[in-house]
Symmetry: D2
Amino acid sequence: MAKQLRLGVGLWCVSFASDRFVGGGYRPMRSLEEQIKMVARIEGAESFDLHTSDFTGLSPREVQKMASDSGLKINAVNPNIFGDPVFKYGAFSNTDPKIRRKAIDLVKQSFDIARELKANVSSLWPGQDGFDYYFQCDYDELWDNTISSMREIVDYAPDLKICYEYKPKEPRMFSLAGTAAKALLIVNEVNRKNFGCVLDYGHALFAHENPSESLRLFDRAGKLFNVHFNDAYGNWDDDLMAGSVNIWSNLEFFWYLKQSSYDGYVTLDMFPFREEPFEACGLALRMIRSFEAIVETLDIATIRDIQKRNDAAAVMEYLRKKVLVR
Amino acid sequence: MAKQLRLGVGLWCVSFASDRFVGGGYRPMRSLEEQIKMVARIEGAESFDLHTSDFTGLSPREVQKMASDSGLKINAVNPNIFGDPVFKYGAFSNTDPKIRRKAIDLVKQSFDIARELKANVSSLWPGQDGFDYYFQCDYDELWDNTISSMREIVDYAPDLKICYEYKPKEPRMFSLAGTAAKALLIVNEVNRKNFGCVLDYGHALFAHENPSESLRLFDRAGKLFNVHFNDAYGNWDDDLMAGSVNIWSNLEFFWYLKQSSYDGYVTLDMFPFREEPFEACGLALRMIRSFEAIVETLDIATIRDIQKRNDAAAVMEYLRKKVLVR
Amino acid sequence: MAKQLRLGVGLWCVSFASDRFVGGGYRPMRSLEEQIKMVARIEGAESFDLHTSDFTGLSPREVQKMASDSGLKINAVNPNIFGDPVFKYGAFSNTDPKIRRKAIDLVKQSFDIARELKANVSSLWPGQDGFDYYFQCDYDELWDNTISSMREIVDYAPDLKICYEYKPKEPRMFSLAGTAAKALLIVNEVNRKNFGCVLDYGHALFAHENPSESLRLFDRAGKLFNVHFNDAYGNWDDDLMAGSVNIWSNLEFFWYLKQSSYDGYVTLDMFPFREEPFEACGLALRMIRSFEAIVETLDIATIRDIQKRNDAAAVMEYLRKKVLVR
Amino acid sequence: MAKQLRLGVGLWCVSFASDRFVGGGYRPMRSLEEQIKMVARIEGAESFDLHTSDFTGLSPREVQKMASDSGLKINAVNPNIFGDPVFKYGAFSNTDPKIRRKAIDLVKQSFDIARELKANVSSLWPGQDGFDYYFQCDYDELWDNTISSMREIVDYAPDLKICYEYKPKEPRMFSLAGTAAKALLIVNEVNRKNFGCVLDYGHALFAHENPSESLRLFDRAGKLFNVHFNDAYGNWDDDLMAGSVNIWSNLEFFWYLKQSSYDGYVTLDMFPFREEPFEACGLALRMIRSFEAIVETLDIATIRDIQKRNDAAAVMEYLRKKVLVR
């Protein structure tokens, strides 16, 4: 357990941030190059994730050069299959075969780019796949379209770790895959070695899951392919600074993560609307390092022994002594 | 679609009702015989479900006679694997093999009774399987214990439809199977023909699911084995009188249910703490008949056509005209 | 009770719609004139509300002319004290007196404009007043700043009905006034005749309130100054098409509204991201008319009588017969 | 700030614990004397709270003697106006004047007992005051009945600190006073010096409040009369062991509490269904002492200075260094 986790930052954390009330954004636009340079300055950041929609006028080669110049790896190269309003009724699940085709082709292009960028991972967040109203959809059709779309997609790039990301709602009222278990049902039905799940800590909280349990659900199935990190109050995808809301839950998460088979990056997925992104991400990575350091002091055998007895008071007393008493 | 659904009542709806603040109960105890007779008087009720823990001093034969005397079928005979505090840390998932054994044996006995009662269904609600605190459990152990327990259980009674019931929380903070998808993951992993899922409408709402979508998820997999009905505000397992909170959602639910392959009973699972149970259940069954009657007027082809276009305004206008305009 | 409610539309319902993932918007921009003309075409719309930030290059006189040419009244003229990132840490509660001054002056200017437009109402939604993180704020300071800001504001325009709008969260994690009761505490403390509350139906649902109860809370205090209408699932400010999720709750709301002292407009506050706004608003107003028509058939004395006995089964049976049986 | 908080235990924490599924209870009954002796053995416990319904066959004098023999103070003596099913439709708000009378008289008797026991505080939790169904209640009637009942009650005992306790739901679907602000509206309207509020940490979380903000809301109004402590996940009144879920929120809570004017007891209000109550309460009090000790290290001026700038990243970094770095 002594090895430190490898940490990364989603470029969107340091990019423009708007919402439905502040359409003009909470801060000025930054160029992709400025975003990458900012991430490079964040202590502890070794990699970044980005969406191919961020490549405004740049070639993959130019982006690759920016990354290597800044000393950063590119972890995940993600297609943006949610930001174009053509996908407003869904990308992979869309009832219109032409729009599904557009989504699939866009994903394949992003895989081509990922290869050029030497990235091994691509995360698919099908944010528009879902529904808003009762009677609006034939749920089987959404599901079947998703399965067939995903099969074509993952078979196009057996060399990449392709990850499906769940979230309960936003921007749709109901996402097609709202929970860890539903994402895993999709992944199981698609049934390909290179297709797994993203675990986003805040999405798990929003789904009223215990994130550690969802982590085990995925890892147990050999499907923990990517980890997004942030914090949240549990009633929305708050995308807050990591470590700012929860501690016990975070410690448990890293305790299980460090014992899992996962060897990829832990990547920040935050929306610091009001905070200076450099400060927010720096704090977040320091929080993770603090959690890691504390987790190192937690004796696995002791905790496992208490778990055999389900003794919550004993395990909380053990944690209290380790964390809160000095 | 013209055939009416067969309706039943869980005996617990008309039985004693206590909670943590009113331990003495909201109404006097009734004997099992009185409960059955009350259900028989509820217009529309054709069957009842019960727990074998309700058999206080009665033989299965005596219970069977009460049912037939009252003109009711017995739909589901359920083991009570949650009410004895020995199961406080779980039944099927318990870390203690002796307690798991006790739970498994209790279930097998209930299957024997079910056969004597000519019931075809047994619903397992593992209410104590789950956890309350961070670090309290080894989640893999809970899962593995559940799978192995369930395999033994379902293999004991290939002649019965055995159903697993999910719910997000209560009495545990986190149930092992909190969502439809998680129940289905368990059912898929156990992988037996006679093992499927209960869909409880209010549990789906509490899990922030659209109940119709969960219905399709189960039916699509051939695993919709039992349906519990009630109503709820969506932030707890309220177990309110059916039809008292939601209408569009209820109509959608019955619309999909009547098109599904499900041919079992729709059984009331309510806790009318303050209401006279006879009145509450009577209202609930009349609500269901009203929903059925309205559903009959909804043209499937018209709705499917709108669904192809995802046109929520059109489908809501269609529904408004059918339901709200006279 | 026979008089129909007067209905209006918030111009933002038919305007541009973006969110944090679709920054470029779900549909093309429309000019203010096009927006007003669209509202004028919606059957049943008699008025509109707007924000003074919508006046891009237009004088109040020009906007007034557009309204009168289209045959619409202007109900509420609202300052936009949330959309400029200078207010990201709050408008009226901001710890920086210069930013509070800017917010107060902006509101006063909007009151001047309201008078030019012959509007009687101005709704203040202090969306940025609140906080995101533990330890981030001195709560007393936020409260005190709000009270003093509001006093200056409402004293500037004793001729206008000035309304404070509550909502639990978004865009801040915690709004200063998240519930009806908290808004009323602020209004009570400010203690001016021309200062009251907006009741937004979906905000009440999001706060886990029964909207009818919140309506009574405000009306009983003589503080129901404005009504926003929409629908929602209750776990977010969904801003869905009115009537699309709830029916009993909507009927109860209009039943109480028509018995209340409120004589202003019921104004749509929806965000039809994916729906054609003209269709969405048209449906919403038809839904309201349907609810009104049903409410006309509900006998007040009968319901009051049942309420004396708290008989939920009886009141639901009464409603079932009125609404679901034909 | 150096003075330690005075800590107490609600006797119900160590008493019988049942819920709607385990009516027979999770552990054996203990006599009142055994409960008091158990509390006396919990390190740090200086007082207890109890309900007069616990006096099964004992005189106040006998209970007083048990307390003094055990070295404990009696903090709050509370009437039980929720456990008798006669109050199922409400106590103070009940539409039936005879039942309101019964509730009021029961409360007055409990005040008489409180005086005999030298207790200064009485907490009223009107758990049954509220409603379950749409159209079930005339909300004004509930409110008016509550105000008039409370006036009579608080005027009966000007020498006692009488406290009103809010909670969003359970056992009713909607409590009359679901939030801090609503409790304060009631207290303000009753308008008596000896009438204030209970702040229950977990109830605040369940109401989606920041408990520290609610604490300030009450203290600012001079109405923080009693503090109940526990922990919760925020979607129900979980009544978990204090300190087991939240840390930042707890620290913030004690930071504000120690700066407040509150000089009463912090009393555990937990339901350790599955935990040995002695262990659970002992852990909880140690958690509180740990939080207090950490709070002592937090420099008020530093934090206030950051709060002026709203700098969440800075305040979280300050906290990280104080709590998580060693």
